[in-house]
């Protein structure tokens, strides 16, 4: 019998019931909740007279809708619908007795940044949230994925999900990354290879030297975008870096429990003879800094490339590329580094952590945001913001002309007032470049924090390797 993958092991440890047809009830260790995808689920519980099964495993934080401007401290959310959603989360968290970080709490932030920061996310856990970027938590060797609101209600009521097992995909990134190449470039390069549907039906395990070399924050960036490749989840086997990151966090185990946990965590790796349904290998040294040119995360190319011609694609992608170029107002053959931008967004659950901000500070220290460019930095949590201020990064950002904001999802999905105007073009560290994603008719180019910082200074997409 073949050995097991990491995914197999976590799965097997969480099956609470298996039916004859293979349909399983998967037990959920951590349920993260935010204001946009949960109100209907709580309402459903009330209507059916049900309770939250495990409130001590349920963590709530508002992030999608919250303003990120400093006047938020006054406690007012001007948009009425946003305010109603945030108030609803407040009421539901208190009524059902959940762990809760309200807008006024310094620990508030993007749910996928708060979870790891507070030690809620631990190796070997099952983690779900009504948000597709739940894949982020896979960086700890946890099985983590997004769910819809009906499933949010199901987890609230039963602490389980009805699931069938996915297939196993190994994505190996060998060798060392070249200077200027980051975790964001890895994850975009993988999607460029597999396409946005390439991961459908799979759970991805990322491995190889280039992945091992990443910090925990870099690994979170990689796993965060597993969903953009269509995978149910992405994960990375825990190692010493993982244990070191987790140790001492508020909700991490302590003392004898820590020892017991470590004994299990150290077994959480794929066996040598495990069966893989698909294996993809990328050479780390061949990955370049990349940007997206179109309206799908698979529309990705090295910054040294030119805008592609739609005819260079196959099948339905030809028409999709034509539509994308029209939407993005780009012509085939144009060097990507000639594309002028008027907005820069640095933040999101993909790239809103302290190391991302340090990268940005290195690039913009002593420089100025280009004339006519609006540039904002939105830290992923109140604690990231505080850390950046303590390290003097905030001063660098403000001296360079960046807006320095409070924590939230902000312009990644533009549900709050942080939006692109029609036709505006943004260098963004977020995760989706869909039509209208950052604002009606707004145009998004995805890239790493270092690349976005360089674009802010030059006013056009820029190869960070030649920037000085």
């Amino acid at each position: 019998m073949a050995g097991k993958t990491l995914y197999d092991k976590i799965w097997d440890a969480h099956v609470a019931h298996e039916a004859d047809d293979g349909t399983c009830l998967l037990y959920i260790d951590r349920h993260l909740v935010h204001e946009v995808t949960s109100p209907q689920a709580f309402e459903g519980l009330r209507l059916a007279g049900r309770k939250v099964h495990a409130p001590d495993k349920t963590i709530a934080v508002p992030d999608h809708n919250v303003p990120t401007t400093l006047d938020r401290i006054n406690g007012v959310i001007e948009n009425e619908e946003s305010r109603i959603q945030v108030d609803a989360l407040d009421t539901n968290a208190k009524e059902f007795g959940l762990h809760y970080y309200p807008v006024s709490d310094v620990r508030q932030g993007i749910v996928h940044i708060v979870g790891p920061e507070q030690g809620w996310t631990l190796p070997g856990m099952t983690v779900v949230c009504g948000d597709s970027h739940t894949a982020t938590h896979g960086a700890f060797g946890a099985l983590a994925h997004g769910i819809g609101t009906s499933e949010v209600e199901h987890v609230l009521a039963t602490q389980t999900l009805i699931q069938k097992k996915s297939k196993n995909m190994k994505v190996e990134v060998t060798g060392k990354l070249k200077p200027g190449v980051t975790a964001k470039d890895i994850t975009l390069a993988v999607i460029g290879r597999t396409g946005t549907a390439g991961g459908t039906g799979y759970v991805i395990e990322y491995c190889g030297e280039a992945i091992r070399d990443l910090s925990m924050e870099g690994r979170m960036t990689v796993c965060n975008m597993a969903i953009e490749g269509g995978a149910r989840a992405g994960l990375i086997a825990p190692d010493e870096k993982t244990f070191e990151y987790v140790n001492g966090r508020p909700h991490a185990p302590k003392g004898a429990q820590w020892e017991a946990a470590m004994n299990w965590w150290k077994t959480l790796r794929s066996d040598e003879d495990a069966h893989w349904d698909l294996v993809i290998t990328l050479k780390g040294e061949e990955i370049e800094p990349v940007v997206t040119w179109g309206t799908s995360p698979e529309d990705v190319l090295p910054i040294s490339s030119v805008v592609p011609a739609p005819e260079s694609f196959k099948g339905g992608k030809v028409d999709a590329a034509k539509r994308a170029l029209e939407y993005m107002d780009l012509k085939p053959g144009m060097p990507l580094s000639d594309i002028k931008i008027d907005t820069v967004f640095i933040g999101s659950c993909t790239n809103g952590r302290i190391e991302d901000l340090r990268e940005v500070a290195k690039i913009v220290d002593g420089k100025k945001v280009a004339d006519g460019v609006r540039a904002m930095i939105v830290p992923g949590s109140g604690l990231v913001r505080a850390q950046a201020e303590e390290e003097g990064l905030a001063e660098i950002f403000e001296a360079a002309g960046f807006e320095w904001r409070l924590a939230g999802c902000s312009m990644c999905l533009a549900m709050n007032p942080d939006q692109l105007a029609p036709g505006e073009r943004c260098a963004s560290t977020s995760n989706r470049n869909f039509e209208g994603r950052q604002g009606y008719k707004g145009r998004t180019h995805l890239m790493s924090p270092a690349m976005a910082a360089a674009a802010a200074v030059t006013g056009h997409l820029t190869d960070v390797r030649t920037f000085n």
Partner: protein, 201 residues
């Protein structure tokens, strides 16, 4: 949830690949705290201009597709976010089945929770159905979940696969949570065992 009955209806063609959840229901409509009323905003940015006027070229605005019940779509339909507002909007519009070569995982799951049947078929069969959908309201497509077939207006029939548990739930309009609650002893037993093995969780 309503039972999924045998469906005979108008199919609309949407051949674009990678139709994402931001296209299906833009974020501005996620601020609702209800499940209903989103049908009017389905495909909002493709369907209306900034003043709220219908864009006549968009398929669901064309007279022959206003009563669409079946979508035939390009590959990787529903990619992107986990927002269940997408299937809520689709169901509220009156669409009960979607046919494509592939669906994004979370969207696919969400459909079943809302009485919508997503059907995966090979490219060449989707091509035939796309052509049939292009005929407009004179051509009625038939989706038979019990038999697991889709039939064109010309009588050409294709079989599809669907998970037996999901089929059972759709046909009978069953509530997942109620079914899981019946397995509470298994969940309790799991919790007792897990609290011994992994007490730190």
């Amino acid at each position: 949830m309503d039972k999924f009955e045998k469906l005979t209806g108008i199919a609309a063609p949407m051949p674009l690949v990678n139709i994402d959840t931001d296209m299906i229901i833009p974020k501005g409509f996620l601020k609702t705290i209800k499940r209903t009323g989103l049908g009017v905003n389905l495909f909002d940015e493709m369907r209306y201009d900034r003043e709220g006027n219908e864009i006549p070229d968009f398929v669901l605005n064309q007279p022959q597709y206003r009563e669409t019940q079946i979508l035939v779509a390009g590959e990787n339909f529903g990619c992107g976010s986990s927002r269940e507002h997408a299937p809520w909007a689709i169901a509220d519009f009156g669409i009960k089945a979607i046919i494509s070569t592939s669906f994004a995982d979370i969207f696919y799951n969400n459909c079943f929770k809302n009485g919508i049947l997503p059907i995966v078929l090979p490219q060449e069969q989707v091509d035939v159905l796309m052509k049939d959908a292009e005929k407009g309201s004179n051509a009625r497509m038939i989706v038979d979940l019990e038999e697991q077939t889709v039939t064109t207006s010309d009588g050409e029939s294709f079989s599809f696969e669907v998970d037996s548990f999901r089929k059972h739930c759709l046909l009978n309009g069953l509530d997942d949570i109620g079914l899981t609650m019946e397995k509470k002893p298994s969940i309790d037993a799991f919790e007792a065992k897990a609290s011994q093995e992994r007490p730190w969780v």
